[in-house]
């Protein structure tokens, strides 16, 4: 059972990474325009200058 002492924190840590990823995506506005993103992907144009969001 001692293995739990390592495994559970490891599992929790991995979960936290996922949560951090979610919070980052939320803060960077990726849920603000769900319809737009679906359409932008279809445009071929060079996206270099639209990185400022």
């Amino acid at each position: 059972m001692d293995i739990l002492i390592y495994l559970i924190p490891v599992a929790l840590f991995l979960g936290l990474i996922g949560l951090a990823g979610f919070i980052w995506s939320l803060k960077s506005g990726q849920y603000d325009d769900l319809d737009g993103a679906a359409r932008r992907i279809l445009s071929d144009a060079d996206e270099d200058n639209t990185e400022n969001s």
Binding site: I8, D35, A45, S53
Partner: protein, 738 residues
Amino acid sequence: MGHAQLSDDSGNYSAVENAAQGYEALVQKAPDDLNRLELLISGVHCGGCIQKIESTLLEEDDVDAARLNFSTRRLSLTWNGPAQRANDLVTKIEALGYGVQGFDPALEKLQSRDEEKFLLLCMGVAGFAMGNIMLLSVGLWITSSEEMGLSTRSFLHWFSALIALPTILFSGRPFFRSACGALKNGHTNMDVPISLAVILAGAMSVHELLTHGEHVYFDSAVMLLFFLLIGRYLDTRARRSARSTATDLLSTLTGFATVIEEGGTRKLPISALRPSMIVRVNAGDKFPADGIVKDGRSEVDTALVTGETLPRALEPGDEVYAGTLNLSAPVSVEVSKAAEESLLSDIVRLMEKAGQGQARYVRLADKAAKLYTPAVHLLAALAFILWWGLWGAPWQDALLIAVTVLIITCPCALGLAVPVVQVLATGRLMKKAILVKSGDALERLAEVNTIILDKTGTLTTGKATLKGVYDPQALQLAASLAAHSTHALSRALSDSHQGALLDVENVREYPGQGLEGVIEGRQVKLGSRDWCGDQNAAPSSDIELWLAAAGQAPVCFYFTDALKKDAAATVEKLQSNGLEIHLLSGDRQEVVDLIAGQSGIETALGDQKPDQKFAYIETLKKQGKHILMVGDGLNDAPALAGADISMAPGTAIDMAQNAADIVFMGEEFAPVLESYDTARRSGLLVRQNFALAVIYNIIAVPLAFAGYVTPMIAALAMSGSSLVVIANSFRLNRKQGA
């Protein structure tokens, strides 16, 4: 660099008659010395549009960022340069063929986007915590403490606490806030028992933890939060769209007018216009305020006010209304009423008033919550008192049972019952090109027993079509001349002519009167009866256009606004559902009667002004009727807002679409029936969901009350009931055979 560009541009554009002006007033300061402007863009349909607008703006050297939000049609623009630069940038967007409106930053506060983001964040955190706690809890559930060992169990309990307590504090905030707010105002809402259950479960668990007890309830508390947050988020999203349309509507009133003064012209915000100022309105612009035409002849598109799609001639001395569109030539207008008092503002005010009335509508979920909340409190309190006072259990056990009762009466199923059905139903309608804008629209639609229809553009196509058979030669002459004009009637005329067109020379368009040209050496006129028609001809109920060719008797073309193809069939089906249908129109009574006869509607009233329509609805409402209003013009806007529920076709003007709860695309009328059917069915499902939740409670509560429910059973029952409710809601999609 930016300056050189600027002077160059402004030099070029000042030559263009309708270059944008006055937008500098809406510019805000952004960090890093940048200027920021928020605009509403109309006419954006696809990814290509986004790309076109953004890349055009980013080509400018001084533009720092341009981002168009497709969902809200809002363009956020920042640049490094003077505020006046805003006008050039707006002109560039307009040159691409998109409509631009300034978005007043003051209106931004009305948006609830932040709230939505906050809920999403809480939901994400709760979801993460739930997953991780379950990982530990499943171990706890399936293994006895003898097998696991006390120290392992305590370890798992401590870890659960480590995850759950911050989560409860973080993700519980939406419920705590709302509960506090309600309690402060001396009443209670659904969030009170939720908060109570979560806090008590957490506190109980901490107590168990410290005394090395057998059970902790962290998993139940976090799961409760997660499921409730899902329901809450879906609900907020549905309501947000309704609110954002209201702010869009208000922003149409922010704009600029060209005021003529001694020694030149000046741009003024519309809100600064005062009576007796002279305003110049270019062709294609909206009249900024109510007033009297001083100079110039033109035509006005009054669709906004009267709902009629055909233009009206305008001469000096005529009255014009704010928001109507000047079509063919520049005119000067003496302002008679300040913008705040103008007709358009009246209409907006009426709509606001009506909107408040609508907000008084009690949603089904709220009704349920009203019954539910006191019952739950009472039961939990009763459980505690009975076990502790009467049956002499230790207070910890009694409190534990009370908390279990609170949790197991689980508002999850209740919280999910409405939003899940709503989201599924709106998704289904969306696929059929019917947009449901407000969260509770379908709920209200299901209760409707009276439908009020507008005529033009709603029951009819809203486009003039040529009626009858004419001499091919006359038609060819007329069509050849008409091809040179963009007037609605001219377009209808040239569309209905199939053959070759003749060459026309020296075409001139006389605003409000007609067209003149020379065809094969003959002088030909096409226009109104007064201008070139036979003054003695019998008046007709149809729209007329006269052709006068030199050396020939004038020929009259008749136009009519045709009924939508499926209108009569749909009206009949709606009537067979027991719905009463009335037709209200701003058009003449004869025309309205004709259309009513064709579509099988018995009650039809013509010559209705916006306020009359509104009053008509108020009267019907007082008789206890639940009204669906379908309309497309600004004249319908107050009525749309005043009715219990409203629909507008996608061809409707923006303001009507804003006011309506449901917008349907396409040339058909059948979506009205489709929406009604879906609303009825989802109403049925919501009631079934409530019934399921009640049945679940009837079984679970006595068990919890008797103290038979372990944390595992509580957690399983909770997720089970939520899943059953969700599964039942999905029948909305499956059951549809056709």
